[in-house]
């Protein structure tokens, strides 16, 4: 057992090295984004001469990164709102109300979890094209909702199943309809689970490449992640500006991570220990 002190310290060395290897690529990229092209060509490692946001400003203004950023924010906000709404409605009904056939329905939704997007993307693209939803924001939002709803329902059903039945009964006796119970009691009571699953969904949608690539062919509809890849082609000989574009896409995620790490981890681990 590495219960002894020296053994623990021996293990700590490679772990610290790994921690450095985990953080370094991002530090490197940040440093590059602060450099001028000349500085970068001369020396990639040295700290930037000055803390300059020129590259960030150039990336933001020149190739539509601000537009892509806004596209992503709007699409992610709408997708997460709908995911939480539909997910909590279904989670409340399946986890707390229960009705004839609710177990079968839950299993059907679980089955959808095991159908990866790659497997359905071709027919989905055709359906979206047939209905005129391809290359539209509602189309992309709908694709995200469809993709992440099974996972959302899974988590929220487990959560609402732990809410005591007495709470529902008491609210019903007070004269609330089922919808009233949902809206006035279940939504507020579900806040911690909704926050956790909401943050995760926001990350999934923000980080997505494939769905966005498939759904949004026109350049002005691009989301930020696709925008970053197009920046690469545009600035293949200006690495610092490209690195600045990468930072623009990564910083919001970093901020969310710093504040909500525990909620993210809760969502990721749900389902791994139960059952």
């Amino acid at each position: 057992m590495p219960g002894t002190r020296p053994a623990r310290w021996v293990a700590a060395v490679p772990m610290a090295a790994l921690a450095v290897a985990t953080v370094y690529p991002l530090v490197f990229t940040t440093n590059v984004a602060m450099k001028t092209r000349r500085e970068y060509v001369l020396d990639r490692f040295s700290p930037a001469d000055s803390f300059s946001l020129d590259n960030v400003v150039r990336a933001w203004t020149s190739v539509g990164m601000s537009r892509y950023f806004l596209n992503s924010v709007v699409v992610v906000a709408c997708s997460v709102a709908l995911l939480l709404l539909f997910g909590s409605m279904a989670g409340f009904a399946l986890g707390r109300l229960r009705f004839r056939g609710s177990s079968a329905l839950f299993l059907g939704i679980l089955a959808a979890l095991f159908v990866p997007f790659q497997v359905i993307m071709v027919p989905l693209a055709r359906t979206m094209a047939d209905t005129g939803l391809i290359d539209t924001y509602p189309g992309l939002v709908l694709a995200y909702v469809a993709q992440f709803l099974p996972f959302t329902i899974f988590l929220l059903t487990s959560y609402y199943a732990t809410v005591p039945a007495e709470i529902v009964d008491a609210a019903r006796i007070d004269g609330n309809s089922v919808y009233g119970v949902y809206w006035r009691i279940m939504l507020p009571i579900g806040a911690p689970a909704l926050l956790s699953v909401g943050v995760l969904n926001a990350l999934f949608c923000w980080n997505d490449v494939l769905i966005s690539l498939l759904m949004m062919p026109s350049a002005e509809h691009r989301t930020l992640m696709i925008g970053v890849t197009s920046l690469r082609g545009q600035y293949s000989d200006d690495i610092p500006t490209f690195a600045a574009g990468v930072l623009i896409a990564a910083v919001p995620v970093l901020v969310v991570y710093l504040f909500l790490q525990r909620q993210i981890a809760d969502g990721v681990t749900a389902g791994s220990t139960k059952g």
Partner: protein, 310 residues
């Protein structure tokens, strides 16, 4: 980051429905109304496309659009060197899977045993898992460029430059390594959640009996965490098969010489670039079957291993 796929072990809490007052018709239909939007979306945009896609894979492309062509697409698919490379790469992923599970497992064990700095490590290791593959791929494209920093660093040590992303024998392993770098934190967090359920008295007993670290891992930790390990195996494999697209798209575009193709990239190229949706559907169906087989085989193998341990 892909949707973590969850274990199927928890169906809606079973048991008879609670007796309910017989309300009005609208009240009785309320639960159905609440699930209706979700059911419609999932049935229409997740499950129905699966049926459509399988059906679609038996029709033709181009001139033969909509015509039933039997197994022609599958014949084309398995004759295509790019798809065969993609399958070979899936095989490599299966072989590399134990490594991708062992790394976070070992690290989680050490964090659980409170190696100095363990509080910090968890937060640091988990971070790349929330970054988009596009961002990770872009960063590593810079680091791994032929005239980039890593080769510069190796050159300083007197080691020759390696064409990390340009050498067909090396590129795929590099992309897998980057994927593991980016996602091991996810499995680590899952392992730590499993450790939280571990019976501390067993560990204390092992310590009292003077068990070595490897013995403790083998006889105490692994048997207690069977379920978690199984979960990590399955989710890691699914992650490898379905969330490396972003890295491939940014880092290699399937090259050099098609050596980094995976089925998901093949599907995208056929559908998005070459406009051969029926062939892409055949590849999708093949991918789905691969995932089913690999997933079921893993569960069976792990079950048997767990049975031996008990």
């Amino acid at each position: 980051m892909a949707a973590p796929t969850l274990s199927p072990a928890r169906p809606a809490p079973a048991g008879p429905a609670r007796p309910r007052r017989s309300g009005s018709r609208a009240e009785r239909l309320a639960p159905l109304a609440l699930v209706a939007p979700a059911v419609l979306i999932i049935a229409g945009l997740r499950l129905w496309p699966l049926v459509l896609g399988v059906n679609f894979s038996f029709t033709g492309d181009g001139d033969r659009d909509g015509v039933m062509v039997g197994l022609d697409n599958y014949a084309t698919l398995f004759a295509d060197p790019l798809f065969r490379t993609a399958l070979r790469n899936v095989g490599l992923l299966v072989l590399l899977l134990p490594v991708a599970v062992a790394i976070p497992g070992l690290l989680a064990t050490l964090i659980y045993l409170r190696v100095p700095g363990h509080r910090l490590y968890r937060g640091v290791y988990f971070f790349p898992a929330v970054l988009s593959p596009v961002i990770v791929g872009a960063i590593f494209t810079l680091l791994l460029a032929f005239d980039g920093p890593l080769n510069g660093f190796l050159g300083g040590l007197g080691l020759g430059p390696v064409d990390w992303l340009g050498d067909p024998d090396v590129a795929f392993f590099v992309v897998v390594a980057v994927h593991v770098w980016a996602t091991f934190g996810m499995a680590l967090v899952v392992f730590l959640a499993g450790f939280a359920t571990l019976d501390q008295s067993l560990l204390d007993a092992a310590k009292t009996d003077g068990a070595s670290f490897p013995q403790t891992v083998r006889h105490v930790i692994v048997p207690s965490l069977t379920r978690t390990i199984q979960f990590v195996f399955v989710t890691t494999m699914i992650g490898m098969l379905t969330s490396m697209f972003g890295l491939l798209y940014v880092m290699t575009s399937g090259g050099p010489e098609g050596s980094t193709y995976l089925p998901e990239y093949y599907i995208w190229i056929q559908q998005g670039r070459l406009n051969q949706p029926a062939l892409a559907s055949a590849a999708s169906t093949a991918l789905f079957l691969i995932m089913l087989v690999v997933g079921l085989a893993q569960i069976a193998i792990l079950r048997r291993a767990a049975g031996k341990e008990d």
